[in-house]
């Protein structure tokens, strides 16, 4: 069952087309990744879902209903740019936003307690926001996003600015919330983050959808045409090999793109013949980044702005 559905959504700002003909649907209880480089139209898309800005054309429906504004209390939204009232105390800020989301004070206070404990921020309850570190403030903001147990959680670049520990914490929380029945849509431009997390992905570029499918299906469609090689010495002898389409050399480790999925056999043979000291040779699925680059190229575009 689809919780959220976008159909042929367009948005222009003056002469600039931010979103052009985007359609996708999100199943209830899934984690949906909206991927693309900066400026691809991710934030605009999310803002249109939140009814912060109105689309020029197309429809957005939540549970089949077009008046999303009536259901805003069932949505949690973490904007890309973070910010809270700097002079307010942690508890008061969360309480204020919880009340805006329709929670009663007593109800909200209990939830605040629970979440602060979970985030190990209980002793900061009465501190002012401007006394917190950036990471802590981000966690507080995440609490404000989910405090009202929303059906749909929209996270715009949730991982940006987090250290690895907090990144893992956030990832676990997202999985936990999904298991409790929430549906999550999040955007990111760092594609590696999505690989282990998403059920579904949507790649967008310059306001258009490139690929939209289940993550497994996407990967399968692109086949295993990449090889990871760990080696000692130099890869110079095979650099101009016929079997190789592209190579990303890191010194002792290289990601090699093959001309066709079957070419790994002759490549391995050539490595042995030319005497390269290979310590690992593995056939792998393409990374999302690679899939993205290939999709853009397939449409005759370039990706110099992809990172």
């Amino acid at each position: 069952m689809n919780l959220l559905q976008l159909e042929n959504v367009h948005k222009k700002f003056g002469d600039f087309t931010a979103v052009s003909d985007i359609s996708f649907s999100i199943q209830k209880g899934s984690i949906y990744g909206l991927l693309g480089p900066n400026g691809a139209g991710k934030t605009t898309t999310l803002r249109m879902i939140m009814d912060i800005i109105a689309p020029d054309a197309g429809t957005i429906t939540l549970n089949g209903n077009r008046h999303i504004r009536d259901f805003l209390d069932r949505i949690g939204y973490l904007p890309e740019e973070r910010g809270l009232y700097r002079k307010m105390k942690v508890r008061d800020v969360i309480l204020f936003i919880a009340e805006l989301k329709g929670l009663y004070k007593q109800q909200a206070l209990g939830e605040i307690e629970r979440w602060l404990e979970k985030m190990q921020l209980s002793e900061w309850e009465n501190k002012r926001i401007d006394e917190l570190s950036k990471g802590m403030a981000q966690k507080i903001q995440f609490i404000t996003t989910v405090i009202h147990k929303p059906e749909l959680i929209i996270l715009d670049e949730p991982f940006s600015g987090l250290d690895p520990i907090n990144m893992t914490l956030l990832k676990d929380l997202m999985l936990e919330l999904r298991d409790e029945g929430s549906t999550i849509i999040f955007s990111t431009h760092v594609m590696e983050q999505v690989e282990k997390l998403c059920d579904h992905i949507c790649l967008i570029h310059q306001g258009k959808v490139l690929i939209e499918d289940e993550l497994r299906a996407v990967k399968r469609a692109f086949g295993k045409n990449s090889v990871e090689i760990e080696y000692v010495g130099s890869l110079e002898p095979i650099r101009n090999s016929d079997w190789i389409q592209g190579i990303n050399d890191f010194g002792q480790y290289a990601e090699v793109k093959l001309r066709s999925p079957e070419d790994y056999r002759p490549l391995l043979q050539e490595l042995v013949e030319k005497g390269v000291d290979v310590t690992r040779f593995e056939l792998v699925e393409p990374t999302l980044h690679e899939i993205f680059v290939r999709s853009v190229e397939a449409q005759g575009g370039t990706v110099q702005d992809a990172e």
Binding site: I52, Y77, P79, E81, G83, Y85, L100, G102, L103, Y104
Partner: protein, 442 residues
């Protein structure tokens, strides 16, 4: 379902009332205002009394006036300090070269001033005073009176009247002004108010208008900054994904207006209690009587009526909403505080203009010009309130005015709400006036 606008009102109210600034203003603003009144009152009665002898040269071409002046100077309090004469007159012969020398001596502070009395002073001649400043009005006034008296006495004497007869005949009449009120007085006729009472009411009017002006300056700016904070921290995206922008705007205005009303209510309450018990309170501290300026304030407050306070609150709230809405919009369309201060500067004119006009309109409260100006919605909160104080307009006119101003405020809020909605999510360049007009029609 809890009311979300109430949540906004609560936040705006609590963060301000709990702040140190609120507590500080609560105490210091009345102290400051009393201090200001005291100081200006003190300056007004402060006299230019020198401690040393001031030398005043006189060039008397008539040869008759100087001796009379020397006799008269002892009778003028202006020329005395603690009962001692502090001005010394001496005569100089009239030559052209001398005047230049005297001017030089004035410049080097050797003498205080010199006075030139022409021969034809009895007919129509001009007496000239040369000093280092021409703003010593008191000395000028005293000298003018002194010499006029001398000259006049001479003229009367020449016509054959004695001095006694003249001063008997020249007494001026006692004169006082009263304002006739619409309401009935004790005797059943129209109530009558003396000009002193009117003056006190006028004084209170000034104070209240000043309060309105100050609150708008302080708290409308505070609203502007809070809009900017929400915009720059991007928290506004979270808020408008929960409530409509106009609800946010309304919540802010009501919240901050409540802060002002709270402060005013505390002042009024304390003020009334203090004034009503002023004499027993003073006795506790062993003070016999207050300085005259403070007594005037006390009288002014006592002269205030519940009716006037009601009108004040009505116009205060309307005015506050009108000006604050505009400030909120400025906050919404700007990107930084510096930018907003600059863009908001013209708005101050909307308050300054009626503030300045008010002083003159008090003299002619029922002229067509005054009436028209008081009905300009942007000026009404100050000018209409002032008219009510000075010369009560008919009730229907007041009600009509309140209605028109309320409608204007509603219209402004409607248009501003739309600009606000677009503005709070716009970053980068400030929109032009044309763009703003387009935004109001989205």
């Amino acid at each position: 379902m809890p009311n979300k606008v109430v949540a906004v009102i609560k936040r705006e109210y609590m963060t301000r009332v709990k702040s140190k600034g609120f507590v500080a203003s609560l105490f210091f603003m009345p102290v400051l205002m009393c201090g200001l009144v005291l100081l200006s009152g003190f300056l007004a009665i402060m006299e230019d009394k020198p401690k040393e002898m001031r030398k005043l040269a006189v060039i008397d071409e008539t040869g008759e006036i100087f001796t009379e002046m020397q006799a008269a100077i002892a009778r003028h309090s202006t020329f005395q300090h603690k009962g001692e004469l502090v001005y010394e007159l001496f005569e100089e012969a009239a030559t052209e070269a001398l005047e230049i020398a005297l001017q030089e001596r004035v410049n080097t502070k050797d003498i205080y001033a010199y006075l030139a009395i022409p021969k034809n002073v009895f007919a129509n001649g001009e007496v000239r005073l040369y000093a280092r400043t021409a703003t010593n009005f008191e000395v000028q006034r005293a000298l003018r009176r002194m010499i006029s008296d001398i000259v006049r006495d001479k003229r009367f004497a020449d016509s054959g009247y004695s001095q006694r007869e003249v001063s008997q005949l020249m007494r001026s009449v006692k004169f006082n002004a009263y304002a006739v009120k619409n309401s009935k007085g004790d005797t059943g006729g129209a109530a009558v108010e003396s000009s002193i009472e009117t003056g006190a009411r006028l004084g209170l009017g000034y104070v209240l208008v000043f309060v309105l002006y100050m609150f708008v300056i302080i708290y409308a700016n505070s609203i502007m900054r809070s809009v900017l904070e929400e915009k720059t921290t991007r928290i506004v995206e979270v808020i408008v994904s929960s409530i409509k922008p106009y609800q946010l705007l309304l919540g802010k205005l009501v919240g901050v207006c409540s802060v002002c009303l709270t402060m005013l209510a505390i002042w009024v309450l304390f003020g009334v209690v203090l004034i009503m018990n002023i004499n027993p309170l003073l006795r506790i501290f062993g003070i016999e009587s207050l300085p005259i300026q403070l007594l005037l304030i006390v009288g002014t407050v006592k002269a205030s009526s519940a009716e006037m306070l009601t009108y004040f609150f009505v116009y205060f709230i309307i005015g506050f909403f009108m000006y604050s809405t505009l400030y909120a919009v400025v906050g919404a369309i700007c990107g930084s505080e510096e930018e907003a201060q600059q863009a908001g500067a013209p708005l101050v004119m909307l308050i300054i203009v009626p503030f300045v006009l008010m002083v003159q309109l008090v003299r002619i409260p029922d002229s067509t010009f005054s009436v028209l100006l008081s009905h300009v919605p942007f000026f009404s909160p100050i000018l209409m309130f002032m008219r009510i104080n000075v010369l009560m307009p008919p009730l229907w006119e007041i009600l009509l005015n309140i209605l028109v101003v309320c409608a204007t405020v509603g219209l402004i809020m409607l248009m501003s709400g739309k600009i606000y909605r677009v503005g709070i999510l716009m970053y980068g360049k400030r929109p032009t006036l044309r763009q703003l007009w387009q935004w109001t029609r989205y």
